[in-house]
Symmetry: C2
Subunit: 428 residues, 2 copies
């Protein structure tokens, strides 16, 4: 087929303009790779009189993305607006109704409505691709769906929110508090309009739920992701973790256990010298583990105009090349609803508490841990100026539920003050 592939692009923010720039600059190269020209026919955005740094005069303008989606002269609807309801959802459904393929960067939409939208697309014989929705420029959807298709996937892990990783590494390198770095990140424009999407782990959780579906052939189930943000991480925790040879990361982990599908997006300790521990700033990293391949690590920019547009273009060129497959690798109707297993895999935990400087205080804490079947691997008590001493405990492998029971029982000792923090230590 040598007819041009005709695109309609909904959304002209940094990603939309990044796509336009690639197509304008590299038309010939793209046509050689795709086997046919890739053309932009029409675009849509909220405002028509903004200078976006790219020429739009060759393209038809639609103020309504639904109208764009329904145009007869486009083959592919490219959705880079965002949001899981409203115009993004309406336009995506309209595009499918009018026979378009879809390329989207919208993780929220797919995390919330992915099962229905994928089923609708496949029922209509259309493809829906979303490389740009997870880990920005890293071709992780392709690596998992196609590159590791010969593997039973055993675990998927990743740092998939660059803003959180920026905050955590900046706290460590500059010795600043969470609040200070949060304000800095907001001023630099690194955070979503609703920053809780980033620091609450929601955005990264959306991404993890999409990887889970592909990895385990399970229905997308964002509601089953155990979410914990980074807002409670203190500079002291970061320093203590470093003392113990770890770094704290907002880490997503998905694995199929005997009790169901475990999906977590929580702050974890990882070995400082592991690839995940070495990850600095806004970079993303995804670790894919399969029974045949072992461990594959992918690292790259998780956001930004160029990287996200690069991922969109990968999907567009696949469609231009005639590559068609189900959204999540197997038909949406075959995806299995897995029971949600909450922290079903045991792990060591890092526990930090403030202990009154009284005789026998530590023995009381140790007894409560022991009563809950938790054994201590390492313990450190730090110098202090008040009456309470910071105490760090690294446990042997235990269940999250045991840690929670112990944490609930600790106040009974009357020697633990303030908030006790427990973070999982993830092995790599």
């Amino acid at each position: 087929m040598t007819a041009p592939l005709r695109l309609g692009i909904a959304g002209l923010g940094t990603v939309g303009t990044g796509i336009i720039r690639i197509i304008q600059e590299h038309g010939q190269m793209l046509a050689a790779r795709a086997g046919r020209p890739v053309q932009i026919v029409a675009v849509s955005a909220r405002s028509n009189n903004k200078d976006r740094g790219v020429a739009l005069d060759g393209y038809a303008w639609e103020s309504d993305p639904v109208a764009l989606a329904k145009r007869d002269d486009i083959d592919v609807f490219v959705e880079v607006m965002g949001g899981h309801e409203g115009p993004a959802r309406a336009a995506t459904l309209a595009a499918l109704d009018s026979g378009k393929d879809i390329v989207t960067a919208n993780k929220a939409l797919l995390a919330i409505h992915g099962n229905e939208i994928a089923a609708k697309a496949e029922g209509a014989g259309r493809v829906l691709r979303f490389e740009a929705a997870v880990a920005g420029g890293i071709p992780v959807i392709k690596a998992l769906t196609e590159g590791l298709a010969g593997n039973r996937i055993t675990r998927v892990m990743g740092v998939m929110n660059g803003s959180c990783n920026y905050i955590l590494t900046r706290m460590e390198s500059a010795g600043l508090t969470y609040e200070e770095v949060f304000e800095e990140a907001r001023a630099l424009g690194y955070l979503e309009a609703d920053p809780q999407l980033d620091v609450g782990g929601i955005d990264a959780g959306h991404k993890l739920s999409l990887l889970s579906a592909i990895a385990f052939g399970s229905k997308v189930d964002f509601n089953a992701v155990e979410l914990e943000g980074i807002g409670a991480i203190t500079i002291e925790d970061i320093r203590h973790a470093a003392d113990l040879g770890f770094r704290i990361k907002l880490l997503g982990v998905a694995q199929l256990t005997g009790r169901g599908l475990e999906q977590r997006m929580t702050p974890c300790l990882v070995p400082a010298h592991s690839p995940l521990g070495q990850l600095q700033g806004g970079t993303n990293m995804v670790v894919l583990e399969g029974d045949a391949v072992g461990q594959i690590v992918l690292r790259g920019p998780g956001a930004g105009s160029g990287p996200t547009a690069s991922a969109i273009m990968s999907d567009v060129i696949d469609i231009a090349r005639g590559i068609r497959m189900p959204t999540f690798g197997i038909p949406a109707t075959s995806l299995v609803a897995q029971p949600a297993a909450r922290s079903a895999v045991p792990a060591p935990y890092y526990i930090r508490m403030q202990l009154d400087d009284k005789p026998g205080a530590l023995a009381k804490v140790a007894r409560i841990l022991g009563d809950n079947g938790i054994s201590i691997d390492r313990m450190r008590q730090y110098g202090h100026d008040g009456s309470a001493a910071p105490v760090l405990i690294v446990t042997h492998k235990t269940m999250r539920s045991a840690v929670e029971l112990a944490l609930e029982a600790l106040p009974q000792t009357a020697v633990v003050t303030g908030e006790t923090v427990a973070l999982r230590i993830e092995s790599l």
Copy 2:
């Protein structure tokens, strides 16, 4: 299409049996992902009475891989024998002549004959895929050909021979000489029957030439790869490099310069804390840089039964899914013959020499470097017990040709003894 995809597998070594194991264990999963069953119909190997740990009784046996390639009852010829002439080449050509698609792990065959074979395959409407030929289980061919298809690729780098990386990291960690670790690696079976393929950089050079073709749309040109093995690296160089904050890696670099295509597979210094510097043992790493995406790093096992079979299965499932594209991403007839540019990009260099302990000796060396336009960034003179002192020089960015002229002139000073080593320092 739901008819089974029928495979003939030529070669029943670790990779061939790894493929059989995956298909025997995961038939249902593979069929779900491929949209159709994947079946082995026939196999071929030199010996028919060896226990390979997998059941072969369901498959037809061919003692001649060419006969296997010609069978009417296979769709895909899977070549995991190796070697760029002889049976591997003959069987691959026979498979194309009889209308089969090809999946191969044979980097040597494609590095030497890839242009002709790809053109023949495309002329016949067949696909030839080779994910397993480069970096084992890392899906790097897919990442480059498809995942980054929207990018003008600016540079490709990688550590793509696990045996060399094992030797270099083991020298450092155990403080052993090259010769000692070489013998150890040979005893462990880590080296090819002809170890020069590994330690001479030939195998890694084959891989680099394939990545170059995809990255730059250029004809495969293995003969233009500047090859330098690791045999001359001493434990002293490894220690000195570490003192300076670097590690030594057999590093492949390909980039398109104003003077042509530069392809190098040579020992280089890389920053110890960079992803490449952190790479230990037999693991591979490939760095892909594109104008839109920036830098993507892929890391994983570069060899072995499971990882290589995983890569083969990725190609097999792609074919089962109906994914068809030219071998090197654009038609083989469109690949451009690029002039070979030898070290056309300036870089800092590490230079180690033995200097006689005489007044003015260092001045003489500095003058020769200066005469060749090389300026010194850092210099270290070490203590010594004989009359010659080890001297390390790190230069500012300069051309390889200038370094070579300086090295040729150094003996004229009559103060430099023994062999002088110059290694490029690669920035990341």
